[in-house]
Amino acid sequence: MSWLGGWLREIILIVLLATFVELLLPSKSMERYARLVLSLLILLTLLGPIVSLLKGSAASELSLALSRSDGGTSGQTGTAAAELQKILADGRRLAAGSRDQSLKLAAQQIAGQMRDQIAAETGKHGANVNVTLALTNEADATWAPAITQVVVTLPGEAGAAQGNAPGGPGSGGSTPIMVQPVEDIKVKLGEGENRPKEQDASAGRADLAVSGTDEGGGSGGADAQAVTALLEKNWSLDPGKIKVVGGGTDKL
């Protein structure tokens, strides 16, 4: 029933205003014309609920119609409106450009902070972090940037230092060529019977190296998990959005 009260109040106010305006009019010659417009306004107020039902808000309809009629009376309004539209479009484009730029800058800064955190927590220096930001609720005025994906590329040097075999699915084309260090060979003449022992020893070292590789792979996986957990905890990220490549993960 509140709309009924508002409607009645509006009608009463319009009638009062119309009476006051008739008193204010400077001459009788204008009176008939002013009375026509005022009576039409009263009629529109009376029809307000029906207009709202059929066409939306009566006041906004009238405002739109009045602005359109004002536009029709002035001479260069068409070109002015076109220019205004162009200026508005330019403004929108510039705003979108600056928004993209600020998103890129924010993504870079977030990536830097993540890199520092990874280095501090896991000791993996030189990790390459790639953050993708996107706007949420872009249609509304309440849009906000959100992290859509984080790609962490762990450095491969740590694995190489442990004697790991180079290359892997995540390392791509930039696989460093690893050269096995030359081991000292002690040659003792006349001790041929010891030769198999030497070979066994070198084989043992190779076994050790292989087991080292496995350990390295295991620690790499642990690193990837640690990095994922760290980013999840510090940045409240969905684990699906975090992708860790390189380092130990490519050997898993």
């Binding site: 509006e10 009019l25 001459s27 204008m30 014309y33 026509l36 039409l40 009566a58 006041a59 009045l66």
Partner: protein
Amino acid sequence: MEIIQIVGIGLMSTVLILVLKEQKPMFAFLLAAATGILIFLFLIGRIGGVISTLQRLAESSGMETVYLKTVFKIIGIAYIAEFGAQIVRDAGQESIASKIELAGKVLIMTLAVPIIGIIIETVMKLLPA
């Protein structure tokens, strides 16, 4: 008491105009126009006060501002057209004065066109096809 000032200015300028009219009718007209403008400027502040009060009242009572704007446009057009027509009439150009009044009437009528459009569209939608 602004009314005393206004009446005083009006009387003085009338005497001056009557004296000048015989010798220099052109200056007499200029004096009349200047007096009219001066009195109008005196009243502008008061008109502004009335309008702002009405606006405040309408806003506080929840009335749509577009209705109020339309009413103010009517008052403004009527006053300005009347003022211009009287000045021109003082100069003895009755036909120009009536044209100014006509322009005022047409502009007031122009304000009615969008309202008529909305009302007619609404009524047409209500009628069965």
